[in-house]
């Protein structure tokens, strides 16, 4: 309601004032579906700060930027017969614009919605691009199959001629090496180890060791959202998460789960995302009722559960899951004396120097500095922040043949900063940022949880 509608309006003589409740019939100016984003569009005052934070716009003059893709496009498409501009597919869903906006415009939500509308209504379901994107977005399905025969998959995936063929026929860049599949998935390891029962036992022992307090604990429970990558490709990260949390006395549960949805949002496959989200929300909210908090080890997964789910879905329990989801490091910083523990700890070896890159999805959660801050106090290791640039790969984005050059142009600043840093090992929370860091510099990349495990969990 504008000022002019106010019954207190001084410009209207008393006799002409009607009873607002009786006479006022709201006119629906912008008929809407599920998501009414008008208030967001109205909040944009065109300061363009989002555009100056967009890593794609930085290297691609043709990309109109988040201000256009969000509030401006939202208004334009109020007109009948208006179409979504295809450039929406050039947005990499880094979500930096959200953090940049001083007016709280829900930019990434607008982009997700516009992208889904574009894919639904304007993209041919018979195009190679559509199917390529769909396969990339549904990485988990391919990974499930691939992980059944990991050695064969690894050999095939990194066969040069096959990769060239993949680029030609399917639009997957031949420049990148596929991530290796682990010979044993995390879930296989977890089951083998005895699942939640073993974790409960170990957590209890750890609590007893730490002074006997809380041997019976109702609160020290976490449900692990491992995501696809830690399960199929880097189970060492997932194992580190389990061991570190058990070390602090937490009982870990690993419920059945699908993909977090990040690659699906980024490719406009909202229906695919909705299916997995429903499974995740249902399984995790059951555990939240039993006193569990949800822990992620990938910042895109936690971003998705915390922010994108409530923005896009309305399943029962969605808000509950969002409110109880944390990044692993973040959770320990809040609930444990992690600083004290690291003060006393050290990592062996020659004094390793790590070049740390904060993923965009850590930045958006305000977690971009926590690893550097935390490991500052740890003996035997130095962590250097390599700056605030985006790595450029953005999940599936950098795998697309037509986006590869953009992806590498964005990453250039990070590669240079890494080369300037003292160490020759990288560190980041995001598996695809890790891929890009490795691809651009040849460095080995670690996860902060692995470093925590080295420092805190004695063999």
């Amino acid at each position: 309601m504008s000022d002019a509608d106010s019954p207190d309006d001084r410009g209207v003589p008393d006799g002409e004032r009607g009873d607002a409740n009786e006479d006022f019939e709201p006119v629906e100016v912008f008929p809407e579906g599920d998501l009414d984003l008008r208030s967001g569009a109205d909040s944009c005052y065109k300061c363009s700060t989002c555009d100056t934070n967009c890593p794609v716009a930085e290297v691609d003059d043709e990309f109109p930027g988040p201000k256009f893709q969000g509030p401006e496009q939202w208004r334009l498409k109020r007109k009948e017969d208006s179409e979504i501009d295809p450039s929406i597919m050039d947005c990499s869903n880094c979500m930096r614009c959200d953090d940049a906006c001083p007016a709280d415009v829900p930019l990434s939500q607008m982009h997700n919605e516009a992208r889904a509308e574009y894919v639904d209504g304007q993209m041919s379901k018979f195009s190679v691009e559509y199917w390529r994107n769909r396969v990339l977005a549904n990485y988990r399905k391919g990974a499930w199959l691939g992980s059944k025969v990991p050695r064969l998959t690894n050999a095939l995936a990194n066969n040069g001629p096959l990769r060239k063929l993949g680029e030609k026929l399917f639009g997957l860049t031949a420049e990148r090496e596929f991530p290796e599949f682990a010979t044993e998935t995390f879930r296989e390891w977890w089951e083998e180890r005895g699942g939640a029962a073993t974790s409960k036992k170990r957590a209890r022992e750890a609590r007893a060791d730490r002074g006997g307090a809380d041997v019976q604990s109702e609160d020290k429970r976490v449900a692990y959202f491992h995501g696809c990558y830690a399960n199929y490709n880097t189970p060492e990260v997932a194992k580190a998460m389990v061991r570190v949390f058990e070390h602090f006395g937490y009982e870990v549960a690993v419920p059945e789960q699908g993909c977090s949805g990040t690659p699906m949002f980024a490719n406009g496959m909202l229906d695919d995302a909705r299916r997995d989200a429903e499974t995740n929300v249902s399984n995790f909210s059951d555990l939240i009722d039993e006193g569990y908090d949800v822990i992620c080890s990938c910042t895109s997964c936690s971003m998705s559960l915390r922010q994108e789910y409530p923005e896009l879905f309305t399943f029962e329990g969605t808000a509950d899951v969002a409110a109880h989801t944390y990044e692993a490091l973040e959770y320990l910083r809040i609930h444990e004396d992690l600083r004290g523990a690291l003060d006393e700890a050290e990592v062996g070896g020659e004094g390793e120097e790590l070049a740390y890159h904060a993923p965009c999805h850590a930045r958006n959660q305000g977690l971009d500095r926590q690893a550097v801050e935390l490991f500052r106090d740890l003996d035997g290791v130095g962590v250097e922040d390599v700056g605030d640039s985006c790595s450029g790969i953005s999940g599936t984005y950098g795998w697309k043949a037509e986006k590869y050059d953009t992806s590498m142009a964005i990453g250039e600043e990070m590669f240079a900063e890494m080369a300037d840093a003292d160490g020759e090992t990288g560190m980041t929370e995001c598996p695809t940022c890790a891929m890009q860091m490795e691809h651009g510099t040849g460095y080995e990349i670690r996860h902060p949880l692995e470093l925590l495990e080295d420092a805190l969990v004695a063999d």
Partner: protein, 424 residues
């Protein structure tokens, strides 16, 4: 409770950064929490102390001479002249030779993008050749497709204000840009990288070639403030040597490169001071101490979950109405985190004046502190023993009309931060 500091500063702008650095220098363990990217990139980069009196007299040649006449309750009146000088001294130390103006207590006059002249106390070195008191003729150069700066219009307005020189305007096409709507940062990046246009000739050289054709004996050339982000000194030096004339920047609206550069410098200084920094999550509330009237923790909203942050001392530097440190709706005006008292007329039609440039009450909305910058309630009683406020969240001054925003942030930020640190 695991996230705990001696001093916690809420807000990452000029006041918050200054407070955090001052507190850290007392030896305190300091954390700075800011809800979004700092809004410094929305600022011109000019550091105003006092350009006009609250009665509208000015431009003032000497801001310090006017300090003693300020009304009771004005932030400068609260902290006193020493604090204003301490804030500026801290600033001068942080920015080093990238800023000028500290050789004198007098204000400098800087041409703005709209062709007006603004009194300011400190200014980026990049604008110093543009001072309006300088008698050298100036060519102002705009770039086609860069919105917000019309060089001919600015020049005409400058001449009309009676500057002691002649200004002329010209516009050139910026090389290497294909976008129809390029961002200011794009111009800066192209100049930073000085990539080749053809045959090894970089963007910097190409720009100056195009400008040279418009020059008519001017000794100085003004550009909109997009001359580099990472290497502004180098960009300007190159342009100067190619043009054979002094080069200066004209401060622009948001997003502003001088603001971004200042932000980088301040955050480097925060890092050096050992301040722990978190941006991206807002502080949404607090918990009181079980005894006395102190703040025990503030509550940070982390994308859905609320996390308590503890400290002995707190500094509130969340900004004014624009920065959302003060909020208003139809029923009232409030400080949203601690619900500190904000005096305002109960009838909202008294919040503003009818004249657009009149004396608007809303411009002075904010919390009302004692001399140690602790917010006071409606009866003048201190609201919390361990909470201080700094910057635009303070009331009783109109920074836009007085041109005093940065000076108040520096003076109250350094004062609040030092007191917070000393009380741990």
């Amino acid at each position: 409770m695991a996230i705990e500091q001696d001093v916690l500063v809420i807000g990452g702008g000029l006041a918050g950064a200054t407070a955090a650095i001052s507190a850290a220098r007392t030896g305190a363990d300091v954390r700075l929490v800011s809800s979004k990217q700092p809004t410094l990139r929305h600022a011109s980069g000019l550091i105003d102390v006092l350009g006009y009196t609250p009665d509208g007299e000015g431009p003032l040649a000497d801001p310090f001479a006017a300090l003693s006449d300020l009304p009771e309750g004005h932030p400068y009146e609260r902290v006193g002249r020493d604090a204003v000088e301490a804030g500026l001294a801290l600033f001068d130390e942080i920015v080093g030779n990238t800023y000028e103006g500290n050789h004198t207590e007098r204000n400098a006059l800087i041409p703005t993008q709209g062709g007006r002249v603004k009194p300011t106390a400190r200014y980026p070195a990049s604008v110093s050749a543009g001072l309006a008191s300088d008698e050298r003729d100036a060519l102002l150069v705009g770039f086609e497709r860069l919105a917000g700066f019309d060089a001919s219009l600015s020049a005409a307005r400058l001449n009309a204000t009676g500057v002691p020189f002649t200004a002329r305007g010209a516009a050139v096409e910026f090389p290497e840009l294909s976008s129809a709507d390029p961002k200011v940062t794009r111009f800066a990046q192209l100049l930073d990288r000085d990539e080749g246009v053809d045959a090894g000739r970089g963007v910097r050289r190409e720009v100056t070639e195009r400008v040279t054709t418009h020059m008519d004996g001017e000794d100085r050339v003004g550009f909109p403030a997009v001359l580099g982000d990472d290497h502004p000194e180098e960009v300007r030096a190159d342009l100067e040597s190619h043009l054979g004339a002094a080069v200066f920047e004209i401060p622009m609206g948001p997003p502003s490169l001088p603001g971004l550069r200042l932000e980088d410098r301040l955050y480097d200084a925060l890092d050096e001071a050992g301040v722990r920094i978190e941006t991206g999550n807002p502080v949404v509330g607090y918990e009181s101490k079980s005894r006395g009237n102190g703040v025990e923790t503030v509550l940070v909203d982390r994308t859905g979950s609320t996390v308590p942050y503890g400290a002995e001392q707190f500094v509130l530097a969340t900004g004014g109405l624009v920065g959302k440190g003060i909020e208003s709706d139809r029923s009232g005006v409030e400080e949203p985190i601690f619900d500190c008292h904000v005096a305002h007329p109960s009838d909202r039609y008294d919040w503003f004046a009818d004249d657009a440039f009149g004396d608007h009450r809303f411009a002075r909305f904010g919390v009302d502190p004692d001399r140690e910058l602790r917010p006071r309630d409606a009866h003048g009683k201190i609201e919390f023993d361990n909470l201080r406020a700094a910057g635009a969240v303070l009331g009783n001054y109109d920074f836009a009309a007085e041109k005093s925003g940065s000076g108040v942030s520096l003076a109250t930020g350094s004062h609040a931060g030092r007191l917070a640190g000393e009380n741990t």
